[in-house]
């Protein structure tokens, strides 16, 4: 009797338990269900917010069709989708080594922006004065150096004085933005702070295929290289050990400071490549908005893919797909640019939320009681 009373007092309606083994099939099904549910909720929200929809509910088909239309309806859109995905993938690759080490680097935005600035600095001062192929190499090297330097500063502080890397890398983003503003003031004496497209330093497209094909192939190669680096090299293994436990790493003779700095240099170099692709391959210019928040989106891409470079192809593809679809909705339904953000936000909320249900389960009192009775 007393025992029964005890359980009824202490047992809540339900409690959470971490799943010990995650069934991959079940996990995949949950993820798909989450995306479907997210899309349904998006439809409902859109129905409430978009005038054209609630006046004409038959257009709900068009609404969902926008997602397909945004990325796949024309050849140009398909290539643009692949290009967006490649740039996002490149920045996501850059944040990954540090994340695997549990070094929370949220400075990819600034590191990439510095990469763009590095490339454009060369194009601005040497464009037309040195042969184009030489300029392209100088731009590439400058982008790598700028990106790596911007990444290694917080890493040095972390390694030497154990400063908080999240805050430090975040602040470096703002500093990078102001550095770009500063150079725009110097470079554009008319005062408009708009550099415009430069005449020199364009990464030439491949002699065949689409203009964006080269960028896509470069990122594909980087993806494979990073996968091999993280999975099959000693340095990659050291990153994982430091990520698991700094103490274990120290005990097994790994120089943790060295690993932190080296890994952030790798991150910075990859951001530099992304900056080069944006600066030389696409915009041929720099603005404070050149990276456009992709440095932050990359964090979600990398995290959703469980820090696996190959899986990131799927997640960066998903995010780019959602973004183009949402922009298409804004265009076709003639609604404010804020609505796409709401739509992408809702879907991301479901995708991220479902990870909770994959890793945890609810244990209800009733079933617990039954188990106890047995």
């Amino acid at each position: 009797m007393s025992e029964q009373k005890k359980t009824s007092v202490h047992e809540p309606l339900f409690h959470l338990a971490k799943r010990t083994n995650v069934n991959p099939l079940r996990a995949t099904l949950i993820r798909i269900a989450a995306i479907v549910l997210g899309l349904v909720v998006c439809g409902l929200v859109a129905f409430l917010l978009i005038e054209k929809l609630n006046q004409n509910p038959g257009k709900i088909g068009d609404f969902y069709n926008c997602f397909i239309k945004g990325s796949f309806s024309t050849e140009r859109k398909l290539w643009k989708f692949l290009k967006n995905m490649a740039v996002l993938q490149c920045i996501s690759l850059a944040v990954t080594p540090a994340f695997r080490m549990r070094f929370w680097n949220i400075g990819a935005e600034g590191q990439t922006l510095m990469g763009v600035l590095g490339a454009i600095t060369m194009a601005f001062y040497f464009g037309g004065k040195v042969p184009e192929w030489q300029l392209l190499i100088m731009m590439f090297i400058a982008a790598l150096i700028y990106g790596a330097v911007w990444a290694v500063i917080p890493a040095l502080f972390k390694a030497k004085w154990n400063t908080n890397e999240t805050l430090f890398t975040l602040m470096m983003n703002y500093v990078a933005t102001y550095v770009v503003s500063y150079f725009l003031v110097i470079w554009v004496p008319s005062g408009s702070s708009t550099l415009g497209k430069l005449k020199y330093g364009k990464l030439p497209p491949l002699p065949f295929g689409n203009q964006y094909l080269l960028i896509i192939l470069i990122v594909l190669v980087l993806t494979v290289l990073l996968y091999v680096y993280l999975k099959y090299t000693q340095q990659g293994y050291e990153i994982s050990v430091v990520g698991e436990s700094v103490r274990t790493a120290q005990y097994s003779g790994i120089n943790v400071q060295k690993v932190i700095i080296r890994t952030m240099v790798v991150s910075g170099l990859l951001c530099g490549v992304a900056g080069y692709l944006i600066g030389s391959g696409l915009d041929q210019s720099v603005t404070t908005e050149s990276v456009g928040g992709q440095g932050f989106t990359a964090i979600i891409v990398s995290w959703l893919a469980n820090f696996n470079p190959i899986m990131m192809i799927v997640t960066s593809g998903l995010i780019s797909f959602l973004n183009s679809g949402a922009a298409q909705i804004s265009q076709d339904f003639n609604v404010s640019g804020a609505l796409p953000d709401v739509i992408v936000g809702i879907i991301l909320f479901f995708i991220i939320g479902c990870e909770f249900f994959i890793n945890y389960k609810f244990v209800f009192r009733k079933s617990a009681g039954k188990e106890a009775a047995k």
């Binding site: 024309t74 140009r76 643009k80 008319s190 265009q331 404010s336």
Partner: protein
Amino acid sequence: MKKFVALLLVLTLCLSACIFTASAEIADVKLGVILLHDENSTYDLNFINGVNDAVAALGLTEEQVIMKRNIPESQECTDAALDLADEGCTIIFANSFGHETYLLDAAKQCPEVQFCHATGTMAHTAGVENFHNAFAAIYEGRYLAGVAAGLKLNELKEAGKLKGEKPLMGYVGAFTYAEVISGYTSFYLGAKSVCPDVEMKVQFTGSWYDYNEEKNAATALIAANCDLISQHADSMGAPSACEDANIPNVSYNGSTVASCPNTFIVASRIDWAPYFQYIVNQVAAGEKIDVDWTGTIDTKSVVLTEINEQAAAAGTAAKLEEVKAELLAGTRKVFDTATEGFITVDGAALASYMADVDTDDAFTPDTEAVADGYFHESEYRSAPYFDVRIDGIELLNQMF
């Protein structure tokens, strides 16, 4: 009789055919609009309203207009323009200064489509047949708004309510850039035309849209004894600072009377609807679009909002009508260099000024702009190029 009926029928048929073909041509036009931001920015909202008004006036259908919002000043702009061309647009318009080089790229790739760019400077030198620039002589609108400000200062002066000895205005600007310099100078000259001893302080924010910075700048100017504030920046920062401090405000881009009922006097703005109508009509008729199109008071591109009688000085409306008529008739010039003491630089009259009209990498001044007793603003190209620092205006900082 039969003949007459037949003739009538033929005539009616011809006539309806004519009307039909004319409207069919309008119906063939498809307008694509590229916007830097969306409705949340007063700058972009002004363009969206312009498109909607033009669509209503021309009777275009929904399918004939596509708007792409939040397009950054990068390769994205070229992509967006080419995508609009894929969708069958015959005119593609972009609204931000930084879009220009990217839109020009798209124009070179699609010679059969007309490309129009607001606020740009390159069309008259680029040599690309289907690429055009447009702006409005907004300095005339600002001059008129300045007249309203000057009248208010006179009223304060007579009532003995000036904070200092001389009437002092404050101006919140975005960048130290020709468009802004031309704007605040014409505003100042408008005020000076009715209130000769007025002076002005200008504070730059270094951003086209930053609510907090603009509010801080306005508050600082008010604290520095300014009797009236105006601004050239896109947020509600300066107007709301004025309402809080009960200081009269002359606004820009649109009326702020709803949130500032006690302090809003009047605002000048560019109405883009006439330009949109113009380009659609030109393309429908198979005519060329001007390389540089400058909207004026006459084309109804430069307009003033309703005057808020509660804040404005008595007789403002009548005075504005009078000055407007003089500007229209050409008897009054905004940048009047002939009248002694009206425009001076370091105490001397402005007899000659080389302006940077043709865009080049080094920004070299290339065109003499002072002639016939006035500075010829927006005549050699549509975008403003008046960037003279004149006496009476003190720049508290510079932001490029």
